[in-house]
C-alpha cells in the first residue's frame, strides 16, 4: 500500500511534466494540424534558460520560472513565424519535416554553442523530504504538482474565458470561417505557440529542479512521450492532454516499480496502440466521419 502511494506520488509529478508538454502539442495540433516536433526542444531551452538566470543572475525560483516561460513563448512565436508560417498551405508532411529540421537545429545549435555536456541544475530550492505514512514526498514534487496544476488551470481559463481563447477555439474548428468573422489568423496562431511554448518552458525549469541534470538532447524523449500523451488524450483536446500526461507518468513509474524498467517505453506504446484501437481518436478526441 505504501509503495503504491509512493509510486502514485512519483507518477503524478512525472506525469505533470508530461502533461505540461502535451498541452503545447495538443494546442498547436488543434490549430494548425502540425505535430510540432521541435516542442520538446523548447522545453530544453526553458531548462537552459533557468540554468543560466539562476547561476548568472542569481534570481529566485519564481523569477526563473516566469522568465523561462516568457523566453520560451518568444522563441515559439519566432519559430512559427519563420519556419512554419510560410508552409501553412503546403502539404502537412512538409511542415512536419520542417519541424523536425527546427528540432535538429535547436539541439545541435545548443550543443555547438554550449557543448553537449550534461550539467547540474542549480538547486535554487533546498530539497526537503517529508515522511508521511511511510511515503517520502519531497517539496520539489509538491512544487511541480502545484505549479503544473495551477498553470493548467490558468490555461483552461484563458482558452474558455478570454477573447483570444475563443479565437483559438474558432480557428481550430474552421480557420476560413474564423477569418470571415474577423479573427486575425496570424495573431491567433502566434498566441497559441506562445501559450504552448510557455508551458514547455515551465516544464523545463521544473524538470531541472526535479532531476537536477540538463543537456541539449534532453527534450527528445520527453517530447515524443508527451506527444504520445497528447494522442492518448485525444489530440486537440486540452483536458485530454493533461489526462494523457498523467496516464503516461503513472504508467511509467508503475512499470518501473514492478521491476520491468527495461520495458517501460514498450508498455507505454502498447497502451497507446490499444487505446487507439478502441478509441481511434484518443480518449477525448472527436472521431470525425467524412461526409459523403
Amino acid at each position: 500500500m505504501q509503495t503504491i502511494g509512493q509510486q502514485l506520488i512519483n507518477g503524478l509529478s512525472l506525469g505533470s511534466i508530461y502533461a505540461l508538454l502535451a498541452l503545447g502539442y495538443t494546442m498547436v495540433y488543434g490549430i494548425i494540424k502540425l505535430i510540432n516536433f521541435a516542442h520538446g526542444d523548447i522545453y530544453m531551452l526553458g531548462a537552459f534558460w533557468g540554468y543560466y538566470v539562476i547561476n548568472v543572475l542569481h534570481v529566485n525560483f519564481i523569477v526563473a520560472l516566469l522568465s523561462a516561460m516568457v523566453f520560451c513563448a518568444l522563441v515559439g512565436v519566432v519559430i512559427e513565424a519563420i519556419a512554419y508560417r510560410p508552409l501553412r498551405h503546403s502539404p502537412r508532411i512538409t511542415a512536419l519535416i520542417t519541424a523536425i529540421g527546427v528540432s535538429f537545429l535547436l539541439e545541435n545549435g545548443m550543443s555547438y554553442l554550449f557543448t553537449a555536456n550534461t550539467r547540474n541544475f542549480p538547486q535554487v530550492i533546498k530539497t526537503v523530504t517529508w515522511h508521511f505514512a511511510g511515503m517520502r514526498i519531497s517539496n520539489i514534487q509538491v512544487l511541480i504538482l502545484v505549479t503544473a496544476c495551477l498553470l493548467m488551470l490558468i490555461l483552461e481559463l484563458i482558452i474558455k474565458k478570454t477573447k483570444m481563447g475563443k479565437a483559438m477555439r474558432a480557428v481550430s474548428v474552421d480557420p476560413t470561417a474564423a477569418q470571415l468573422v474577423g479573427i486575425n489568423l496570424n495573431h491567433t496562431i502566434s498566441f497559441t505557440f506562445a501559450l504552448g511554448s510557455a508551458m514547455a518552458g515551465a516544464a523545463g525549469v521544473l524538470i531541472g529542479l526535479y532531476y537536477n541534470s540538463i543537456d541539449p538532447l534532453m527534450g527528445m524523449t520527453p517530447g515524443i512521450k508527451a506527444f504520445v500523451a497528447a494522442v492518448i488524450g485525444g489530440i486537440g483536446s486540452v483536458p485530454g492532454a493533461s489526462l494523457g500526461g498523467f496516464i503516461i507518468g503513472l504508467l511509467e513509474t508503475a512499470v518501473q516499480a514492478i521491476g520491468l524498467s527495461a520495458y517501460k517505453d514498450a508498455v507505454v506504446y502498447v497502451v497507446l496502440i490499444v487505446i487507439l484501437l478502441v478509441l481511434p481518436a484518443g480518449i477525448f478526441g472527436k472521431n470525425v466521419k467524412e461526409k459523403v
Partner: protein, 317 residues
Amino acid sequence: MKTTLKANAVWLGVMILGFVVIDAAEFAGLVNTFIENMLVTIGINVILATGLNLIIGFSGQFSLGHAGFMAIGAYATGIITQSIATPLGFYLSMIVGIFVAIIAALIVGIPTLRLRGDYLAIATMGAAEIIRILINNLKITNGAAGLFNIPALASWATVYTIMCVTTIVTVNFIHSRGGRAVMSVREDEIAAEAMGINTTRWKLAAFVFGAATAAIGGSLHAAYIQTIAPSDFNIMASIAILIIVVLGGVGSITGTFVAAIVLGALDTILQNFGTLRMIIYSLALILIMIFKPTGLLGNWELSFKRLNHHKEVSAHE
C-alpha cells in the same frame, strides 16, 4: 508494347552504365573507403526510402515505423550469418528477414491501418519502438550492445544490384493493377471502396511490401557495416528515411533517388565541418522545405517511355 520494350532496354542500359562507372572508378582508385561507404549508404537508403514511399506516397498511409522493419532484416542477417558465414547464408538470412518482417507488418498493420493520418503515424512509430525494445532486451540479439563482427558478405556491388532489383520490383508493382488500386486508396478511400476496391487489403499490401524492402535494406546494412545495435533503429532512424521520401517528393521514386544522393553527398561533404555539420544539415532541410514544399521533384517521374513518345510526336509534326 514496342515503346515499353525500348524504354526497358534504356533503363537496363542506365543500370549497367552506373555499375560500370562505379566499377571503373574503383579500379582507377578514385573510390576510397570513405566514398564507397557513402555510395553504399545511398544505395541502402534508396531501398529503404523506396519502400516507405510506396506506403506514404502511393497508398497515402503515414507510417513512421520503417526502422523497426529494417531492424528485423538487420538482426536476421546478423544472427544467421554468424553461424553460416557464406553468401548463401547471407541470402538465406535476407529471406528469413523478409519473412519475419512480413509477419510483423501483418501483425502491426491489420489493426492499425484502420487509423487515419497522424494517428497511424504515431501507432506505427510505437510498434517500431516495441520491436526495438524487444531486440534491446533479448539474449539472441545481444541486448543493447548489439552484434559485432558480422561477416562482410555484402559489397557495394551486392548493394547496387539489390537496389536495382528492389526498385524494378517496386516500380513494376506501382504500374500494375495492384499499384493502381493502392493509389486509388490514397486518392479517395470512399470512392475506391465504392468501385469495389477492398481498401484495407490494398493498404495492407503496400504496408507489407514496404516492410519487406525495409528488411532487405536492414540485411544489407548489417552485412556491409558489420556492426549493429538497437539504437541504430530508433525513431530518429525512421525519421531519417522519412526525410528522404519527403525531400525527394512524396510519390516520386525518381525523387527518392535524387534525395538519397543529395543527402548522402551533403553528409559526406559536411563531415569536414565537425560539430557545425548537423547545424548546416538542419538549416538545409528547413530551407529546402520552405522553398520547395512538395520536395525536390514533386511527383515527377523520369520516364524514357514518355521521352521517347515526345520525340515521336515531335518528329511527326
